[in-house]
Structures are given as C-alpha cells and as structure tokens.
Amino acid sequence: MERRVASVVVIDAGLVERLRAISGHTHVLTDEHELRTYESDGLRHYRLPPAVAVLPGSTEEVRDIVRACHEAKVPWVARGAGTGLSGGAIPVEDGVLIVLTRLNRILEVDLDNQRVVVEPCVTNTAISKAVGPTHFYPPDPSSQIVSTIGGNVAENSGGLHCFKYGFTTNYVTGLEIVLSDGEVVTVGGKELDHPGYDLVGVFVGSEGTLGVATKITLRVTPEAAAHQTMVGYFDSIEQAGRAVTDIVGAGIVPAAIEIMDKLTIEATEHWTHAGYPLDVGAALIVELDGSEAECEARSADVMAIYERNGTTSTRVAQDDDERALIWKARKAAFAAMGYVSPYYYVQDGVIPRTRLAEVLEQIDGLSEEYGFKVANVFHAGDGNLHPLVCFDARNPGELERAEELAGRIVLACVEAGGSITGEHGVGLDKKHLMTDMFSEHDLAAFQRLRCAFDPDQLANPGKIMPTPRLCGEVPGPYRKHPLEQAGVAERL
C-alpha cells in the first residue's frame, strides 16, 4: 500500500555543512536508512524521506537552520512526534526536515497564574501531569500520550473533552515563533489581550506553514470537584443521536459526549475488555463534571433522557478506575480497528449535529455501494464524525477505492453544512477538498496571510492550499510536491 518515491535527491552540500555547524554532526542525518524513520506521519500510506534531517537543541539552532534554508531558498518541514493524520509532517523530498524532539523541556509551571511554558516536543499528557492533580490541560487528542504540544498547536488539536472545554486554540496564550526568514518573534504571553492582531490565534492550526513555534505558553484549568461518567446502550446510532440532541436541548453541557457504533464496540472490546456489551447498536458515553450537586442533578436528567430514547441498558462508572476503563475503550478505537480489518482509513468530517441521522444514512449507502465496512466513532457534542473505512490494501485498487469512499463521506458532511476536517487538519491528504468548502476568493484571502508570514513559501510547502499560488511582489517558484511530481498524488 505504500506510496514511496525513490529518493535520489542532491541537496546543496554547503547547506548540509552549515546544518552540521549549527547542530553538530550527530544531529544531522543524511543516511538513507536513518532518514526512513521520518518518511511518514500518522497517514501511513504516504511515504517520502527528506533530503536531510536535523535535530536542533535550542531556539537559536532552529533560528539558524531556518535562516540557512532561507538563504539557500530550500524548503523545510518541522516535525514533532509524527502522529498527525493528514500528512502535515510529510517531508519535502529536496528539503530539510527539522525534527524538534530534543526541544522537550517544560520551562515553567506557574500554577498561581494557571500557565505553563513549554518547548514544542513536550507531550500533551505531560502537561496535565505537571499541573495535576489539582489542575489539568483540557485538549486531549486520543494520541495524547505521544503527540506533542507543538504538533497540537500546528493542527489545533481537539479531543474528547472539547465540547465543553474547547480546543488547543482556546488554551494557547503565547508563542515564540521562528518565521521563515529566521526572525524570532514573541506573540502573546502569559497575559491576555496583548495589543495588536491575534497572531497567536492565526498561528494555531496553521499546520506548520507560517513558521515553527519554539516556545508555547498554555493555560491550564482546575479539575472539577466531581465527575460522573455514564454509558447508555441503544439499538441504533440514530437513537443515541436523538438522546444527544435532547441532552444539549435541555441546556446540559457535558464535559464529553461520545458515540461508538456496533463495529467499533466489537473492535475496541476485543482489545481492551472494558465490558461493553456486543449485542448493542451503539454506545453513548456522557461525562458530566462540576460540583457534586451539579453532577447529581444532571445525571438524573441524563438518565431520564436515556430512558426516553429507548436505552436497552446503562452503565455508570462507580469509581475512577471504571471511568478510566470506559475511556480507555473509546481512546483505543482507532488502534483496535486492526482487529476488524487489516487496513483502515480514518476520516474526519464535521456536520451540524442535527443532521446526524441523514448523514449516517448516506454513509451506510456508500458503505454498501463500495462494499467496505465503515465503523463510526463520533464526538457527538460538536458533530465531529470519524468514520473508519475498512479495506485490504493487498487487493489491488482497494486503497484508491477506500480513499474515494472516504472522500465522498466528507463531501456529504460539507453538503450538510459541515467541514472537511474537525481536528486532523488538511495537510496533504485533504487539500484537494478545500475547493468544496471554500471559494476562490476565500482561498485568495488565506494566501494573503501565508504571504505575510512566509513570502517565499518555504515553510511546509504543498500543504493546505489546493493549487499553487504565488505571493504577489515576491513570486517564488512553485514546486510540485514530489508525490505529485511522481504522479502518485495527483489530485482531482
């Protein structure tokens, strides 16, 4: 299933020497086998090694590397743990890969002001550990044990608890950024409302195309007094969806609301033995948090709503261990899919939640049409669907057809008024879908921002934007991504 492009790239030897002078010989990789480590991210079927990888040990080294690239007009890609699912960290064949793994220090924990200052390769989980048990860092992508804050910032990562608590962008208050010409700027800080444009706000979620963040200031928040995690089982996913509508309609704001369908439950139960019954059509997991009194009152409301929508049975976590087990099953959903299918493609679409039933019907229809099973995992509160398309890449043509099916699912989401991506990003994988969501004028406005930050378009080129674009008075030569050049990633 691999889409590998032979790497026969000559990179300016002078640049490699400069990189060695900046970060030291051992931190500059040019060996073909070593570079293979970095040839892909979480979107495993795109693979492409960089011409050279460098592992800087400080902001100054990042600055000097980026400056050297700027002078040589060589493109570069910054990379954290490589868990992204849209190909955002796939290298440029004749470019430099800046691997940030050595920038992994927590620089400051300022609990009094509910702030943490970190380098980009600190893991998401490490933040909550550093401020726990009294406080936590709410955005919690399922990859949180390994995924890094720098990557979370690039992708504006969400997670299970964002319906109530928000996304990465709601928690980043300050950044130190190395711009593509090597200038180091500080935007925001621990304080809110620095005068000027919200450059922190536009940088978060810019997928590595506006520069590289070398220091990140995050807001953390106190843990709630009490949690109540309750699972309702239903015959159909539509019933579970109606229960969600009723919960939200009653003015209840759960910390998390998740739905798993039958196929997902089967896979994840096999893997985690969390005790989900196998004979149900869907599981709805609702987690409430707040004061004891708040949780008590609201959990009675949620139970009544489960009943009203025909729940077949319910499960309420009796302690923290059981709560963790219920979530372990949900967080393992992607990984566990290997039990059901040798290969799967994780889709990430968003719909207005009220359109759930009709979009699910369309997904069922498409699943039948293509003959592939589709499992559904759903951040039900914010309408973020993760259909998992199951296929076998060993059969010729199946990967392409699975991708086509996944593409049609996401178009159904857009037609319902939603988005092509809720949290995985556009990257390389979805840039051809941007025109389904945005007009030519919209894309031109995006390009204005890109050009303000990076007129030579050296930072992570070939991602997000569907077609090559120039930057007005500084026309840089557009370079096709090597996957496109090789004809393996030709876009519709």
């Binding site: 009094d112 509910q114 005068p195 450059l199 707040g290 919209d442 303000a452």
Partner: protein, 367 residues
C-alpha cells in the same frame, strides 16, 4: 462601495452602533464612513446545533433577546451590549468583553466563521458553521480585534451556549487588596467553576464577586463564600444579581475619564490595585484572568498623561491600553503602548489592505 473606495484610494471608517468611536489612536477624518446599520439581520439561529449567523450590524441586545427564546445566548456580555446599542460586528472588531469571559472566553473563542469585504471589494469567508472545524486559516481570529484595519466584517457565525436559568452570586468585601487577591485566587483555583469571577476596588475598599449558573448554583456559591471568608472577606449571597453584574460591566466604560486596561496576571491583582491607588484610579476586573480596567480621575491632559506613564512604568511589562480618553489625551500618549512583532503585523496589514484605506492610523504602530 469598498471597491470604489479602494480604486480611488479613499479612506474608509467603519461604524456599527457608535459606542466605541473614541477607541484607538486619533485619526484624520475619513473620506467615507461605512455604517453597518442596514446589516442587522439574524440570518440563522440553529437551535439544535448551538450556532447563529448574525449580520455585523445586528445589535447584540436584539440578538440576545431572540436567542433567549430558546434559552440560549452568545456568551459575550461587554459594556453597552445590553443597553447601549453595541453591535456584534463592533464587539468582534474591538474584541470587547465582559464578565462572562471567565467561563466562556472572549469573542475570539466563540466566533466560528466570518465573512469580510476586503479593500478591493472581494468578499471572502473563513471558518464555518460548525462548532469544530480546522479547515483553512483561522481568519475569524485575525479579524477579531483588528479594529476594521483589515477589511469590513459583514457577517459572523457565533457559537451559542445555554443561558443559565437561575444564578447566584457570592460577594465578599474587604479593605485589604491582599485579602481580595487571596480570595479571588482561592475561587479561581477551586473546582467549582464559576460563570464569572470579578473584582472591583474604589476609594480604599472593594469586593470579589463569583457568579454561578447551572443546575445547582446555590450549593457552589455557598462553598465559594466559605473560601472567601477564610481569606478574611465579609460575604453575602445575592440571588437577584443582574444589577450587580450590570454595574461591573458599566465600570469598564467612562464618558469623561480615561480608562486604562491592564493585561496582567491573576496572582498580581494586589499589585495592580496598589498601582491604581497610587494614581487615584478605581478598578474593575476579571479576577481569574488578570484583566483590569482602571478609571483614572479626570483632570487636564498633562496630569492624565503622567498618570498613564506612571502606570505603565509600575506595571511593566503588562500591556496597558488606553480607552475612552479625551482626544487631547490620545494625542499625547500612544494609546496602545508597545506592540509585539510590529514588522510582521505591518506585513499582514499590507497584504490584506495594500492601499491602506481601512481605518488608517487607528491601530498599533499607526496601522
């Protein structure tokens, strides 16, 4: 209109409800004033999806009234939002905020999508109509707080929240800034999660206020009152609390006296109170967020300017931005103070408004 202004290089001033016309740097009179008054429609209210599409000139109060019928709200409560005719476009453009910010964040946190007219007349949108969306650059955040310098906001998509059916506010008073700071900190770090957490200080005394909504506001308010008492505050509980919070909002604005907004840190509240006292200012603030609005005593321009400079020195490096000041004062101080990443900021402005016709001169660095 924008296209023809752009073609003729005419400067454009954008006006909503006219409640914040004295904000920003003083500028030359514009060639053209564009009013969003006619853009006043609630385009969509998607109750089940907790979203609303609002035209920029929609008065916030009217939007809130319509959304309240479904027990929902835009979680933005800046001054003059309920009573003064502030429009959603104006609130977004200036990133103005009120006490609800403690729980729900600012305009940047509840805006989902935006439609703008750029200086060449092109209409562009960014974001979407769903709560969660990471497709494309987040231009909604770029335009939020840009004071009309990048183009004209014509429509916004906002995330909605349930409106609490009942509320309860715990209030604790003291004449010791440190006690107020300790109490505010204890509440901010407590697991009870208030909707709003505010403070005020004037003439040697002040209060901390914590408002609760949700299913059981009273129980949480009582817990928090205990924390305040432990910090040495005298407490009371207020169930009918709307007037209390209207007063907090009102303290962020002034018709005659200059206001300085301090972007500080929560734990530094006592220090900010002391600095306010040194220049004879009263204070209102978001105690958990480190934001405070200081009302300076009036007086001639020279005294006010020296007070502002003194505040900036004593509170350095906290940004101190001047609002509501008379023209004479705004002429003499840089209302914005020091700005970060100014050359990048200028490049952003140049890309979006290459002819410099949108609200020229009003923003940081004379942008």
């Amino acid at each position: 209109m924008m296209r023809s202004a752009g073609a003729r290089q005419q400067s454009v001033r954008i006006r909503g409800g006219g409640t914040k016309l004295s904000w920003g740097r003083p500028t030359d009179p514009p060639d053209i004033e564009v009013s969003t008054e006619g853009l006043d429609q609630i385009v969509e209210h998607n109750e089940g999806d907790l979203t609303a599409v609002l035209q920029a000139g929609t008065p916030l109060a009217r939007a809130q009234e319509a959304l309240a019928e479904a027990d929902q709200m835009v979680a933005l409560d800046p001054p003059l939002g309920e009573t003064g005719g502030a429009t959603i476009g104006g609130v977004v453009s200036t990133a103005d905020s009120g006490p609800l910010r403690h729980r729900y964040g600012a305009a940047r946190d509840v805006i989902l999508g935006i439609t703008v007219v750029l200086s060449d007349g092109k209409i562009a949108k960014a974001g979407g109509k769903v709560i969660k969306n990471v497709a494309g650059y987040d231009l909604a955040k770029l335009f939020t707080g840009s004071y009309g310098t990048l183009g004209l906001i014509v429509e916004v998509v906002m995330r909605l929240h349930p409106r609490p059916r009942e509320t309860m506010t715990a209030v604790g008073g003291s004449d010791d800034p440190r006690a107020l700071g300790d109490a505010a900190s204890a509440v901010a770090h407590s697991p009870f999660g208030p909707e709003c957490l505010d403070v005020w200080w004037a003439e040697g005394q002040g209060e901390v206020l914590a408002r609760f909504g949700g299913a059981a506001p009273e129980a949480a308010a009582k817990e928090v009152a205990k924390l305040m008492e432990r910090a040495g505050l005298e407490t009371r509980m207020v169930a009918d609390d709307d007037a209390l919070w209207e007063r907090q909002r009102a303290r962020q604005r002034s018709s005659d006296d200059p206001i300085v907004r301090v972007s500080g840190l929560a734990a530094e509240l006592p220090r900010v109170v002391r600095s306010a006292e040194e220049v004879g200012a009263s204070l209102v603030g978001r105690a958990g967020l480190g934001l405070a609005w200081l009302t300076l005593a009036g007086g001639d321009g020279r005294e006010v300017v020296s007070s502002i400079e003194k505040l900036r020195r004593s509170l350095h490096p906290f940004p101190c931005v001047v609002f509501d000041a008379p023209h004479a004062v705004r002429e003499k101080v840089d209302v914005w103070g020091e700005a970060q990443a100014l050359s990048l900021t200028r490049r952003v402005k140049a890309r979006f408004d290459p002819d410099g016709i949108c609200n020229p001169g009003i923003f940081v660095g004379g942008i």
